[in-house]
Symmetry: C3
C-alpha cells in the first residue's frame, strides 16, 4: 500500500465540518482570514504542495474562489474533471479519492451531492491526504459559513448579541442550518422567516419562525437565501409566482427602508434579482453581497493555511 | 462595495471592439504583435496579474491561443467553466463578471453568444476589471481581425491599396463584417463573393458583391470563410450539397491557379477541407492558414500588453 | 508554413507504441521511472516547454497522472477541452494537432477512440511536435503497460521467467494485448483466463487460454482486467450477472488463498469491487493496485523525459 504511516489524520488536518471546532479555533480562523483580507502575505511552504479540486456539482463561484485561494497560497492546483469520468464508470468516491492520493495529491477540495460524503473517509486508515468539504448534499458548507462569519465580524467587530434574520427557502438550504448552528454558538441570536411551506422543524432549536415584517426593524443582519427557480410558479409545487414571492417574502425597497441604518444585507449568491431582493438593493450601501464573495477567498485561504500548518508544511514565520 | 475607485475604465483598458481605435493605435498594436512574433520578450509585471477565461461558446482554437498568450506574458490564468454553472442557475452575465471581479480577477476574456454583451458592462461604474471581447454573437471578433491584419502586414509590409476578397457565408459570419470595416479603414479595398442567398446588404458599404471568378486574378488576399455544415445539403435551407458548394463557390485547385503568384490564401479556421478550399491548398505555398493560428498568439499578447500598460501594471522597460 | 525544418521526428521523439522500442530501451525507461520513484529530481529544462493534454475519451486517472508527471517535470501544461469543441464542428484530428502546434505546443498527449490515430500523423512532414499515445481505441496504452512493467520490476527486480495470469474481459481490453506482447518480449510467460465468450484468438500467439483455477497456484502476477459493467447482466449480451462473474471468473478470497505468498495482484483500475476482485483484496497485502497508480506518475515522467532528451531540451546533468 502507498500509505506512509497508517495513522488517521487529526480533525484539524481535514476541514469538513466547522461544528467540531471550538469557539477559539473558529475565531482564530476568522482572524487569520481578516488578516489576509487586510493584505497579509501567504506563508512559505516547506515543499511543493498539490491540491485537487473535485466538484461533483457545478459551482463556478465556490470553485473559482478556492482556486484563487490556492493560487494566493502558492499551492500547485489540479482541477479534476469528474463529469463523464471514472466516476461514471461506477467508481466509488472512496476509490477516486484514493486514486488521486496515489497520484500524489496532498489535499482534496470536494463538493459532492451525498450528505456526509466525508464521514467514512476521514475514518479510513489508508487515507492520508487532507479533505476539505466544499459542500455535501443537504449537509454543511463550511467555507460559506466562514465567509459569512467573516463578513459579520469585519462589519461589527464582534458577534455577541447580534441579531440575524435568515429569510427564504429554509428547508432546502444547506446554508440555513449550518450557519444558524454556528451563529448561536458564537453568541448571536437567529430568527427565521419565509413561506410556511418551506419552514423546517429541524431549525426550531436554533431560532423562532416569524413573519418577515415583524423582525425587520430589529435585526443587525438580514440574510436572504436563494430561491431555487424550479420551486416557483409550478402548479402543485408552489402556490406563488416570482412576483408573489418578492411581494410576500422578498426584501423589497419598502422593507429595506425599515432596516436599521447599521444593518447589513447578505445573500449566499447567485442572487435572483427582483425575487429574493429588489434589483437595486444588490449593490446598495447596506449590501455586503459582493463583499461576501471577496471575503470567500480569504476565508478559504485561512482554512487551507490551517491544514498546511497542522501537517507541518509551513516554514516558521 | 468592492469597487475601489468608482471610475469607469478608459477605452484602452478594455479591448472589446477595434473600431474605437485610431489607425495609429491599430498599427501600434500590429507592430507590437510582429515584434513578439520575431522573438521580443514579454514585459515585466509589477505584481501578480490574474486573468479569467470565460467562454460561453466552445472554441478550442481561440481559447487555447489566449491561454498561450497569457502564459507567455506570465499572467496567472483561471479557466472558468461556465457550462453547467451558476449561469445555468439563471445568473446574469453582469453578476458573473462582478463575481469574478470580487474574487480578485484583473482581466476577463469573454466569448458570449449575445451580440454586444459588453456594452452595458463597460459603462458600469462598479466594474473595474478589464474586459476583452473574444467574440460576441453576430458582432465582432477583435483578436481574429487583429491576427488577420498581422498576417497581411507581415506578408506585404503595408496595407495601402491591397485588394482583398472575402468569400463564402457572408451573412452569418462575424469575421466578414468586422474585418471588412477595419480593412477599409487601413486603406485596403474589399470585394465579396459567395452564394447570393448568403449576401447581406449590411456589407454593401464596405465592398461590392461579385462573382468569385471575376475577382480571383485581381486580389492580393483571398479569404475564404467557414461554411457552417448545418447550412449545407438540407432541403429548404440551402440548395446545394458540399460538393456543389465547392464547385460553385469554393477555392478549387483550378481557381487557385488563377490567383496572382504573390497572393495569399487565408481562412479563419477550422477549415472544411474540400468544401471552402481544396484539401491540398490548405498547406500549400500560398496558404497562410496555419500562420494565422501562430500569429493569433502574438496578436493576443499585444492586446493584453496594451491593457496591462494602460492599467500601469508593467515595469518600465 | 509554420514548419521549421520539414524533417520527420524520429521514433524516440514520439512515444506512441512501446513495441518499436528495443529491450534495452524499455529497460532504460523502466530504470529511469524507478529512479524517479526513489526520489530522483527531474532534469533542468533548456527553455519553457509547453505540453497539451487532449483527451477525446474521459479518463480521470490517466489524465491526472499525466498532469502530475508534467507538473513534476516543470512543463507548462495546457488541458485542451475537446468535448464540444472544434472537433465537433467537423475538424479532423490532423487539423486539431496542427492547430495546437501552430499555437506553440511542443508535445501533445492524446487519447482518442480511433485505433492507430497516430499512424499518419507521425509520418506527416508538417508535424514537428512530439506525440504521446495515451490510449488509442482497441490499440495500445503504452503508459499503462510501462507502469505495469515498473510495478513488476520493482517487486521482483527482474522479468526473466516470471509467470503472469491475465484474467477477464480479454477481447475488449486494450491492456491484454499490449501488455502480453511486451511481457513476453521481456522474458515473462503469459496465460489467460476468463469467460470463453471473451477470449480472442488474436491473443493466442502470446499465451494459452486456461481455466482460472488451473493457473492460480502457479503465477507470480495475477492481473485482473476491468469488466465493462454494460456487458454484464443484460439479456442477450452476457449470460451472467455480476455475482456469477465474480464466482466463476473473479478473484474471490478463496482463490486468493491459493496464490503463492510472493505473488502480487494487479488491476488497471477503476476496479469494480466485488466483481473482478473481492472488495477486501483491493487493499490487501498482496495487492499492488494503488501502487500501480502511484507508479503511473513515475512511468509517465520517464516517457516525457525521454522525449525531452531526444529533442535536446534538457541541460546536461
Amino acid at each position: 500500500m502507498s500509505d506512509e504511516t497508517g495513522a488517521m489524520l487529526t480533525e484539524m488536518e481535514n476541514l469538513v465540518d466547522l461544528d467540531t471546532l471550538s469557539i477559539r479555533e473558529l475565531n482564530d480562523l476568522l482572524d487569520l482570514a481578516l488578516m489576509y483580507q487586510k493584505g497579509k502575505n501567504g506563508p512559505t511552504l516547506k515543499r511543493d504542495v498539490r491540491i485537487a479540486n473535485l466538484f461533483f456539482e457545478n459551482s463556478t463561484r465556490t470553485v473559482t474562489s478556492f482556486q484563487m485561494a490556492e493560487h494566493r497560497l502558492g499551492l500547485s492546483r489540479f482541477d479534476i474533471r469528474v463529469a463523464g469520468s471514472s466516476v461514471q464508470k461506477g467508481e466509488s468516491l472512496e476509490d477516486t479519492i484514493k486514486t488521486i492520493q496515489a497520484i500524489g495529491m496532498d489535499i482534496a477540495v470536494v463538493r459532492h451531492p451525498a450528505t456526509g460524503w466525508y464521514r467514512e473517509l476521514v475514518a479510513d486508515r489508508n487515507l492520508h491526504l487532507s479533505l476539505v468539504n466544499a459542500g455535501d448534499g443537504a449537509g454543511v458548507h463550511p467555507s460559506q459559513t466562514l465567509l459569512d462569519l467573516m463578513t459579520i465580524k469585519k462589519e461589527f467587530g464582534h458577534f455577541d448579541g447580534l441579531k440575524v434574520a435568515i429569510v427564504g427557502d429554509l428547508s432546502h438550504s444547506r446554508v440555513a442550518k449550518s450557519d444558524a448552528k454556528i451563529f448561536r454558538k458564537l453568541g448571536m441570536s437567529v430568527r427565521f422567516a419565509g413561506p410556511e411551506e418551506w419552514w423546517s422543524e429541524e431549525l426550531a432549536p436554533f431560532g423562532s419562525f416569524e413573519k418577515l415584517d415583524d423582525l425587520l426593524a430589529d435585526v443587525d443582519v438580514c440574510m436572504c437565501l436563494r430561491v431555487q427557480l424550479e420551486r416557483i410558479g409550478q402548479a402543485g409545487r408552489a402556490t406563488f409566482t416570482a412576483n408573489d414571492y418578492h411581494q410576500q417574502y422578498g426584501l423589497t425597497k419598502a422593507r429595506a427602508e425599515r432596516l436599521k441604518k447599521t444593518a447589513i444585507i447578505m445573500h449566499p449568491a447567485p442572487v435572483n434579482r427582483g425575487i429574493e431582493l429588489d434589483d437595486e438593493l444588490v449593490e446598495s450601501k447596506q449590501s455586503r453581497i459582493f463583499d461576501q464573495m471577496a471575503n470567500g477567498v480569504y476565508a478559504r485561504m485561512a482554512m487551507l493555511t490551517r491544514i498546511l500548518e497542522e501537517r507541518d508544511l509551513l516554514e516558521k514565520e
